[in-house]
Symmetry: D2
Subunit: 255 residues, 4 copies
């Protein structure tokens, strides 16, 4: 059984999840989310503990995750019911605070300046080895899935989902030679607010979380938690890229 | 007479200006500021209404504005006293609010997302003609003087001071084809928070100013207010660029 | 009288100009070019010595210069005949060789590596003052008109035509802190192949010119030569920008 | 036994390899190369068929590969002789032509415009699936090892060596939304000159190779061939990054 559990509201700015959704989701074999990629991120977060595959039905333009057009819905549901699909598995990344708190994100964690346009300084190390002290508006730690979101807007590369990496991308870095850094994702990438008394906004997939005041450092790694995206036959990551980034629609003239 | 009026504090994070500074400054023929470029921005703001030329003495590394090394101070003061200098005139840019309030900046005005990592949307028009609706972390409106500051960190070009332009640079724009835009600076560049109810941080040279709630739009133009920087013989903008951006110190190997 | 003198060939890769064109052009009051912006560049070069205004009729997608849609041609011709138009004046930039040879370009001059992927080194000075020694694939010197062409592809800013500047943009620079530089355009910007024995490709608006072997340096400045583009009422530079760069057509989802 | 086999010439522009080097190299247990990273690339190419580990002794500034300072040479040789080192294994990438020819590179393969500044069009597919048709000055296919070389100059990310990826980076792309793409490296990334009659320069680690005229397409993948770099205790990739890219030496002032 496939139960539709989500729908973003009219202006697509927020997602309303009804009280009953969790129970509803557990009763089904899969979760269908109707909306855009923002809706999919919320749905993925809710579906994570119960481990149900997700079907992303786009209410507007085609999404990276919400990859089924509304008009194709009945065909898609039929395909799903008859087992005619693949599961595209994406790992969450997880952020562990110094107080033991753990947060999950499918796209990215962001450390950002807060309340002023002054830069912040953040230290990064991987598997205990010092990488750099960033002097910037902030940094993004993105999964391959999130590489086409905020990471892309700040100059980070596109990363194909089937790679075991994460990307550490500085936001408007003061040091002009710091660049996006592609790292393995098995060990801990630690981001430390240094000095600790800076005002820093921390978020995962767009949701703010308060950093621990005493020891504001975060260990980020690939999570064992997964999101299984239902992928119908004929769907292609590269085709979605070309469509979403309009690679074929160049309007400038040749030189 | 040259009277030293400023000095930044030990960690160079903030500027302490004593109560007497304004009177002291008016009593002199020039204002000497000791610190970094941040100190110079504050000094320029204070010297603006009284129109005194500025002498920038760098307490640390060479600055774009604080361009006199501390060890050269006595020579510099002697040169100034004997009239052996040029005045490097820089125009402020000014921001006029819909309620008539006016703010000045030497470097840049910034409109930024506030309190979350969600993007904001800002409309821009020049001389009444619509440019674009930006979907980004924000935008920077930079003077040539400010082009080597925040603007540079976000991918904007370096602009030689003797040009009559300003730069409109989007910060981490969602639309990947929006790029820094160099405009004339005589007419009004209007930036509008659109829709008006978004949380937007507005600042000039790093100082926050509350936008009018009802009609959050700002008209930015080259100001008639000027800053006159005392420039000793032998000082060169391009040399400062090369030093500050370490153009000669490339450490990577040839290919 | 308006005489159509140009038409690019079917695959829009090259422009065929008939023997009679020069005479034909001189007989008319204006020159109409049918094609894309590449055709317009050729037409502008041919029209330069005889100083006739240009009407750019686009045979395909809308151009920055070829700004009249084919279907609007008869209306446009009527408007031109009745004087219902403005002239949008653009200055050529000119390149003077050490041997006295002068070349003109509407968009840009390019110095590029030639025959290998090895970098070249080029020195730049403005008005006799040393700017930098670039270690790169090459440099572009672009007019405002050319800022949306090759310059944009290499990270240079968009420059509104009514500004008295040119842009010096390094191509894939080895030194990561060298950035596009916006300069005044009245004085000479000198680019020197240094050392002189490097293999360097030099071109203006896409046409190759052999640099003098003995003293391979080029002085570039705003030319007194102008191109007058016929601009019909209702045409807007910013609208063309939005259309050509598809600023309104963002396909990625909000964050 | 460690035998020094290489030394770049005085101006570090080219490498002279003596006739006897191959035999000399086979007689030793390791190959020591004295020079910069360019020398190391040549040494790696020569050492590839005989599979000897490489010791990179830098004759000038510290290299990514030539990571032993000349003054530390005797200590380094002693450490090597006593087995006090690790082997840092890097895979070559290999390029297979349609005529069966195979070339190897440690850093990158480059497809570039040739003889003019006109763009070229290149198609890319991964594991038989179409990625995009690039309209650019060319594309770079870089290994993690090569990510800090040409790839970095064109806006590509830094990729830590212990990742199983390669990077496809467009050079000065006309389509502003095409970005560096991080791909797995096990399957074939095929780059096709399309249409086939374009003038394209193809090179591996800076050496030009003629593409087959009839079917100018190249399949690129991670090679089974490896380079084993001798890494002494205390050497760190991130430390080299910080030194080479001068991350700690920022000269601009805070904002």
């Amino acid at each position: 059984r496939v139960l539709s559990a989500f729908q973003d509201d009219a202006d697509r700015k927020s997602v309303t999840v009804h009280e009953t959704d969790r129970a509803t989701m557990e009763a089904g074999d899969a979760v269908a989310a109707v909306g855009g990629d923002g809706t999919m991120l919320s749905a993925a977060g809710l579906a994570r503990p119960i481990q149900r595959p997700l079907l992303g039905i786009n209410s507007g333009k085609l999404g990276f995750l919400a990859n089924i057009q509304r008009q194709d819905l009945s065909v898609a549901l039929h395909d799903v019911a008859s087992g005619n699909y693949e599961l595209d598995t994406r790992n969450f990344i997880e952020a562990e605070f110094s107080n033991g708190e753990i947060h999950y994100a499918l796209n990215e964690f962001v450390f950002s300046r807060h309340g002023s346009v002054s830069m912040i300084t953040l230290s990064a190390e991987y598997d205990g080895e010092f990488i750099n002290r960033y002097w910037a508006d902030g940094v993004i730690v993105s999964s391959p899935t999130g590489s086409t979101a905020y990471n892309l807007s700040t100059g980070g590369p596109i990363v194909v989902p089937q790679t075991d990496v994460m990307v550490l991308t500085p936001i408007s870095p003061h040091t002009l030679t710091t660049r996006p850094l592609v790292l393995p994702c098995e060990k801990d990438l630690t981001i430390r607010v240094d000095p600790a008394d800076q005002k820093v906004l921390f978020s995962g997939d767009g949701n703010n979380h308060d950093l621990p005041a005493v020891s504001p450092e975060v260990k980020i790694r690939k999570s064992a938690s997964i999101m299984q995206l239902i992928k119908l036959s004929g769907q292609s990551y590269f085709e979605t890229l070309r469509n979403k980034l309009m690679w074929g629609a160049d309007m400038r003239d040749e030189r």
